[in-house]
Amino acid sequence: MAFEIGDRSFDSRLILGTGGFRNLELMARAVEASGAEMATVAMRRVDPSARGSILEVLDDAGCFVLPNTAGCFTARDAVTTARLAREALGTDWVKLEVIGDDRTLLPEPGDLLEAAETLVADGFTVLPYTSDDPILARRLEDAGCAAVMPLGSPIGSGMGINNPYNLRLIVEQARVPVILDAGVGTASDATLAMEMGCSGVLLASAVSRAEDPAAMARAMRLAVEAGFEARRAGRIPRRLHGEASSPAEGVAELTWPPS
Protein backbone atom coordinates (compact mmCIF):
# COMPACT_ATOMS: atom_id res chain seq x y z
CA MET A 1 0.00 0.00 0.00
CA ALA A 2 1.56 3.24 -1.20
CA PHE A 3 2.17 6.10 1.19
CA GLU A 4 2.45 9.80 0.40
CA ILE A 5 5.00 12.34 1.53
CA GLY A 6 4.46 15.85 0.27
CA ASP A 7 3.53 15.50 -3.40
CA ARG A 8 5.15 12.12 -3.95
CA SER A 9 3.93 8.60 -3.49
CA PHE A 10 6.11 5.59 -2.59
CA ASP A 11 5.46 1.86 -2.60
CA SER A 12 8.38 1.05 -0.35
CA ARG A 13 8.27 2.30 3.22
CA LEU A 14 11.97 1.76 3.69
CA ILE A 15 14.22 4.78 3.11
CA LEU A 16 17.91 4.04 2.85
CA GLY A 17 20.75 6.22 4.05
CA THR A 18 23.79 5.73 1.82
CA GLY A 19 26.48 6.46 4.41
CA GLY A 20 28.86 3.82 5.72
CA PHE A 21 29.06 1.43 2.76
CA ARG A 22 32.58 0.22 2.12
CA ASN A 23 32.14 0.97 -1.59
CA LEU A 24 29.56 1.94 -4.22
CA GLU A 25 29.33 -1.64 -5.46
CA LEU A 26 28.15 -2.92 -2.08
CA MET A 27 25.81 0.05 -1.85
CA ALA A 28 24.28 -0.69 -5.24
CA ARG A 29 23.56 -4.30 -4.24
CA ALA A 30 22.08 -3.24 -0.92
CA VAL A 31 19.86 -0.59 -2.51
CA GLU A 32 18.52 -3.20 -4.89
CA ALA A 33 17.96 -5.79 -2.15
CA SER A 34 16.24 -3.21 0.05
CA GLY A 35 13.65 -2.27 -2.54
CA ALA A 36 14.04 1.32 -1.32
CA GLU A 37 12.70 4.06 -3.61
CA MET A 38 14.32 6.93 -1.75
CA ALA A 39 17.90 7.29 -0.52
CA THR A 40 19.73 10.08 1.26
CA VAL A 41 22.98 11.75 0.26
CA ALA A 42 25.17 14.30 2.03
CA MET A 43 26.67 17.50 0.53
CA ARG A 44 30.46 17.69 0.72
CA ARG A 45 33.35 19.49 -0.97
CA VAL A 46 34.10 18.13 -4.43
CA ASP A 47 37.01 15.72 -4.40
CA PRO A 48 38.62 15.39 -7.87
CA SER A 49 40.34 12.18 -6.80
CA ALA A 50 37.03 10.50 -5.91
CA ARG A 51 35.80 7.85 -8.38
CA GLY A 52 32.34 6.73 -9.30
CA SER A 53 29.20 8.80 -8.92
CA ILE A 54 26.67 7.99 -6.24
CA LEU A 55 24.04 9.84 -8.26
CA GLU A 56 24.43 7.50 -11.21
CA VAL A 57 24.09 4.46 -8.96
CA LEU A 58 20.92 5.83 -7.39
CA ASP A 59 19.53 6.88 -10.76
CA ASP A 60 20.14 3.39 -12.16
CA ALA A 61 18.32 1.96 -9.14
CA GLY A 62 15.44 4.34 -9.79
CA CYS A 63 15.92 5.83 -6.32
CA PHE A 64 14.64 9.28 -5.51
CA VAL A 65 17.56 11.27 -4.06
CA LEU A 66 17.02 12.99 -0.69
CA PRO A 67 19.85 15.34 0.29
CA ASN A 68 20.50 15.84 3.99
CA THR A 69 22.12 18.60 5.99
CA ALA A 70 24.33 16.29 8.02
CA GLY A 71 27.24 18.06 9.68
CA CYS A 72 25.37 21.30 10.35
CA PHE A 73 25.24 22.63 13.92
CA THR A 74 23.25 25.83 13.27
CA ALA A 75 19.98 26.72 11.56
CA ARG A 76 21.89 29.02 9.22
CA ASP A 77 24.32 26.36 7.98
CA ALA A 78 21.50 23.86 7.55
CA VAL A 79 19.45 26.31 5.50
CA THR A 80 22.41 27.17 3.28
CA THR A 81 23.24 23.49 2.82
CA ALA A 82 19.63 22.75 1.82
CA ARG A 83 19.79 25.54 -0.77
CA LEU A 84 23.10 24.27 -2.12
CA ALA A 85 21.57 20.80 -2.43
CA ARG A 86 18.60 22.26 -4.30
CA GLU A 87 21.02 24.03 -6.63
CA ALA A 88 23.18 20.96 -7.16
CA LEU A 89 20.49 18.30 -7.41
CA GLY A 90 17.48 20.24 -8.61
CA THR A 91 15.32 19.00 -5.75
CA ASP A 92 13.49 21.01 -3.11
CA TRP A 93 13.29 18.03 -0.76
CA VAL A 94 15.62 17.92 2.20
CA LYS A 95 16.26 15.70 5.20
CA LEU A 96 16.87 18.41 7.75
CA GLU A 97 19.52 17.69 10.38
CA VAL A 98 20.79 20.20 12.91
CA ILE A 99 23.10 18.50 15.38
CA GLY A 100 23.43 19.67 18.97
CA ASP A 101 26.28 17.49 20.16
CA ASP A 102 28.84 15.63 18.08
CA ARG A 103 29.18 12.72 20.50
CA THR A 104 25.53 11.70 20.58
CA LEU A 105 24.53 13.46 17.33
CA LEU A 106 21.24 14.37 18.99
CA PRO A 107 19.31 17.21 17.31
CA GLU A 108 19.38 20.85 18.48
CA PRO A 109 15.68 21.59 19.10
CA GLY A 110 15.67 25.38 18.74
CA ASP A 111 17.75 25.65 15.58
CA LEU A 112 15.99 22.66 14.05
CA LEU A 113 12.61 24.36 14.38
CA GLU A 114 13.97 27.67 13.13
CA ALA A 115 15.57 26.05 10.07
CA ALA A 116 12.38 24.12 9.34
CA GLU A 117 10.31 27.31 9.35
CA THR A 118 12.78 29.08 7.05
CA LEU A 119 12.96 26.22 4.56
CA VAL A 120 9.20 25.64 4.47
CA ALA A 121 8.74 29.36 3.76
CA ASP A 122 11.36 28.95 1.00
CA GLY A 123 9.27 26.23 -0.65
CA PHE A 124 11.14 23.18 0.53
CA THR A 125 9.59 19.82 1.36
CA VAL A 126 11.17 19.40 4.79
CA LEU A 127 11.73 16.03 6.48
CA PRO A 128 13.27 16.83 9.85
CA TYR A 129 15.39 14.40 11.85
CA THR A 130 14.19 15.11 15.38
CA SER A 131 14.34 13.80 18.92
CA ASP A 132 11.50 11.66 20.30
CA ASP A 133 10.03 14.69 22.11
CA PRO A 134 6.32 14.74 21.14
CA ILE A 135 6.09 18.50 21.69
CA LEU A 136 8.97 19.27 19.34
CA ALA A 137 7.48 16.84 16.81
CA ARG A 138 4.22 18.74 16.90
CA ARG A 139 5.93 22.11 16.51
CA LEU A 140 7.75 20.79 13.43
CA GLU A 141 4.46 19.58 12.01
CA ASP A 142 2.86 22.95 12.80
CA ALA A 143 5.78 24.59 10.99
CA GLY A 144 4.70 22.80 7.82
CA CYS A 145 7.12 19.87 7.66
CA ALA A 146 5.95 17.14 5.26
CA ALA A 147 6.81 14.42 7.78
CA VAL A 148 8.42 14.08 11.18
CA MET A 149 11.35 11.74 11.63
CA PRO A 150 11.98 11.00 15.30
CA LEU A 151 14.98 8.97 16.33
CA GLY A 152 14.66 5.61 18.07
CA SER A 153 18.13 6.10 19.55
CA PRO A 154 21.25 8.00 18.46
CA ILE A 155 22.45 7.75 14.86
CA GLY A 156 24.52 4.63 14.39
CA SER A 157 23.96 3.38 17.93
CA GLY A 158 21.86 0.39 16.88
CA MET A 159 20.01 0.48 20.20
CA GLY A 160 16.60 0.42 18.53
CA ILE A 161 13.69 2.31 20.04
CA ASN A 162 14.72 3.59 23.48
CA ASN A 163 11.40 5.21 24.32
CA PRO A 164 8.42 3.43 22.71
CA TYR A 165 6.08 5.56 24.80
CA ASN A 166 7.19 8.81 23.20
CA LEU A 167 7.11 7.28 19.73
CA ARG A 168 3.53 6.17 20.37
CA LEU A 169 2.53 9.69 21.42
CA ILE A 170 4.11 11.13 18.28
CA VAL A 171 2.30 8.66 16.02
CA GLU A 172 -0.98 9.20 17.88
CA GLN A 173 -0.96 12.96 17.39
CA ALA A 174 0.66 13.30 13.96
CA ARG A 175 -1.28 14.30 10.85
CA VAL A 176 1.78 13.83 8.64
CA PRO A 177 3.77 10.62 8.12
CA VAL A 178 6.00 9.60 11.02
CA ILE A 179 9.24 7.98 9.90
CA LEU A 180 11.55 6.34 12.40
CA ASP A 181 14.97 7.80 11.68
CA ALA A 182 18.14 6.60 13.39
CA GLY A 183 18.80 3.92 15.97
CA VAL A 184 17.66 0.86 14.06
CA GLY A 185 20.15 -1.93 14.64
CA THR A 186 18.42 -5.00 13.32
CA ALA A 187 15.25 -6.16 11.57
CA SER A 188 13.03 -6.44 14.65
CA ASP A 189 13.59 -2.76 15.42
CA ALA A 190 12.08 -1.87 12.05
CA THR A 191 9.19 -4.30 12.48
CA LEU A 192 8.44 -2.83 15.89
CA ALA A 193 8.44 0.73 14.54
CA MET A 194 5.94 -0.17 11.85
CA GLU A 195 3.75 -2.07 14.32
CA MET A 196 3.70 1.06 16.46
CA GLY A 197 2.23 2.95 13.55
CA CYS A 198 5.17 4.58 11.83
CA SER A 199 4.61 5.19 8.11
CA GLY A 200 8.17 4.25 7.27
CA VAL A 201 11.70 3.64 8.49
CA LEU A 202 14.91 5.42 7.50
CA LEU A 203 18.16 3.64 8.24
CA ALA A 204 21.76 3.59 7.09
CA SER A 205 24.35 2.01 9.39
CA ALA A 206 22.20 -1.02 10.22
CA VAL A 207 22.57 -2.05 6.59
CA SER A 208 25.74 -0.35 5.39
CA ARG A 209 27.84 -1.53 8.34
CA ALA A 210 26.32 -5.00 8.66
CA GLU A 211 28.67 -7.87 7.87
CA ASP A 212 26.58 -8.61 4.78
CA PRO A 213 24.88 -5.35 3.73
CA ALA A 214 22.79 -6.86 0.93
CA ALA A 215 21.45 -9.60 3.22
CA MET A 216 20.58 -7.06 5.91
CA ALA A 217 18.94 -4.84 3.29
CA ARG A 218 16.75 -7.78 2.31
CA ALA A 219 15.99 -8.42 5.97
CA MET A 220 14.97 -4.80 6.47
CA ARG A 221 12.71 -4.90 3.44
CA LEU A 222 10.93 -7.94 4.85
CA ALA A 223 10.88 -6.49 8.36
CA VAL A 224 9.21 -3.24 7.32
CA GLU A 225 6.58 -5.13 5.33
CA ALA A 226 6.04 -7.55 8.20
CA GLY A 227 5.45 -4.74 10.67
CA PHE A 228 3.15 -2.89 8.31
CA GLU A 229 1.09 -6.02 7.61
CA ALA A 230 0.95 -6.94 11.29
CA ARG A 231 -0.45 -3.54 12.22
CA ARG A 232 -3.06 -3.81 9.50
CA ALA A 233 -3.94 -7.34 10.55
CA GLY A 234 -4.93 -6.28 14.07
CA ARG A 235 -2.85 -8.14 16.66
CA ILE A 236 -4.34 -10.13 19.54
CA PRO A 237 -4.40 -8.36 22.91
CA ARG A 238 -1.78 -9.17 25.51
CA ARG A 239 -3.28 -11.45 28.16
CA LEU A 240 -1.91 -11.98 31.62
CA HIS A 241 -2.61 -15.69 31.57
CA GLY A 242 -2.73 -18.38 28.95
CA GLU A 243 -5.58 -19.19 26.59
CA ALA A 244 -5.73 -22.67 25.15
CA SER A 245 -5.33 -22.88 21.39
CA SER A 246 -6.74 -26.41 21.39
CA PRO A 247 -10.41 -27.03 22.17
CA ALA A 248 -11.41 -27.73 25.77
CA GLU A 249 -14.34 -29.80 24.50
CA GLY A 250 -14.07 -33.40 23.39
CA VAL A 251 -11.04 -34.21 25.50
CA ALA A 252 -10.80 -37.97 25.87
CA GLU A 253 -10.84 -39.76 29.22
CA LEU A 254 -7.74 -41.91 28.93
CA THR A 255 -6.88 -42.57 32.56
CA TRP A 256 -7.81 -46.08 33.62
CA PRO A 257 -9.06 -46.86 36.18
CA PRO A 258 -10.61 -43.36 36.27
CA SER A 259 -9.22 -41.42 39.26
Binding site: G20, L24, A42, M43, R44, R45, I54, A70, L84, A88
Partner: protein, 69 residues
Protein backbone atom coordinates in the same frame (compact mmCIF):
# COMPACT_ATOMS: atom_id res chain seq x y z
CA UNK B 1 46.32 37.91 -8.90
CA UNK B 2 43.44 37.30 -6.52
CA UNK B 3 43.90 35.15 -3.43
CA UNK B 4 40.76 33.24 -2.45
CA UNK B 5 39.97 30.15 -0.42
CA UNK B 6 38.55 27.25 -2.43
CA UNK B 7 37.17 24.39 -0.36
CA UNK B 8 39.43 25.47 2.47
CA UNK B 9 42.65 25.87 0.47
CA UNK B 10 44.20 29.22 -0.38
CA UNK B 11 44.55 29.65 -4.14
CA UNK B 12 45.96 32.48 -6.25
CA UNK B 13 43.72 33.09 -9.23
CA UNK B 14 44.50 35.33 -12.26
CA UNK B 15 42.80 38.73 -12.03
CA UNK B 16 39.25 38.80 -13.42
CA UNK B 17 38.73 35.46 -11.69
CA UNK B 18 35.05 34.46 -11.45
CA UNK B 19 33.19 31.77 -9.57
CA UNK B 20 33.47 29.77 -12.82
CA UNK B 21 37.26 29.95 -12.52
CA UNK B 22 37.09 28.72 -8.92
CA UNK B 23 34.83 25.84 -9.86
CA UNK B 24 37.36 24.68 -12.47
CA UNK B 25 40.16 25.12 -9.92
CA UNK B 26 38.21 22.89 -7.56
CA UNK B 27 38.54 20.18 -10.19
CA UNK B 28 35.06 20.20 -11.64
CA UNK B 29 34.81 19.36 -15.34
CA UNK B 30 32.87 21.43 -17.84
CA UNK B 31 29.14 21.43 -17.24
CA UNK B 32 29.50 20.83 -13.49
CA UNK B 33 26.37 18.76 -13.15
CA UNK B 34 25.50 17.97 -9.50
CA UNK B 35 27.69 20.78 -8.19
CA UNK B 36 26.70 23.87 -6.17
CA UNK B 37 28.70 26.85 -4.98
CA UNK B 38 28.60 29.16 -1.99
CA UNK B 39 30.73 32.30 -1.73
CA UNK B 40 31.14 33.71 1.76
CA UNK B 41 28.21 31.56 2.88
CA UNK B 42 25.81 32.64 0.14
CA UNK B 43 24.66 30.35 -2.68
CA UNK B 44 25.68 31.44 -6.18
CA UNK B 45 23.34 29.88 -8.77
CA UNK B 46 25.09 28.15 -11.67
CA UNK B 47 23.75 30.75 -14.07
CA UNK B 48 25.74 33.45 -12.31
CA UNK B 49 29.06 31.61 -12.01
CA UNK B 50 30.67 33.18 -15.06
CA UNK B 51 29.28 36.60 -14.28
CA UNK B 52 30.32 36.72 -10.64
CA UNK B 53 33.80 38.12 -10.04
CA UNK B 54 35.78 37.00 -7.01
CA UNK B 55 37.34 39.50 -4.65
CA UNK B 56 40.53 39.07 -2.67
CA UNK B 57 40.05 36.86 0.40
CA UNK B 58 36.66 35.47 -0.48
CA UNK B 59 35.73 31.98 0.65
CA UNK B 60 34.45 29.68 -2.07
CA UNK B 61 32.81 26.34 -1.30
CA UNK B 62 32.21 23.94 -4.19
CA UNK B 63 30.02 21.04 -3.13
CA UNK B 64 28.46 17.90 -4.57
CA UNK B 65 26.56 14.88 -3.32
CA UNK B 66 28.37 12.03 -1.56
CA UNK B 67 27.35 8.94 0.39
CA UNK B 68 25.73 10.00 3.61
CA UNK B 69 22.84 9.92 6.06
Amino acid sequence: MTMVSINGERRDLPGEATVETAVREAGVEREGRGVAVAVDGEVVPRGQWSGTALREGQQVEVLHAVQGG
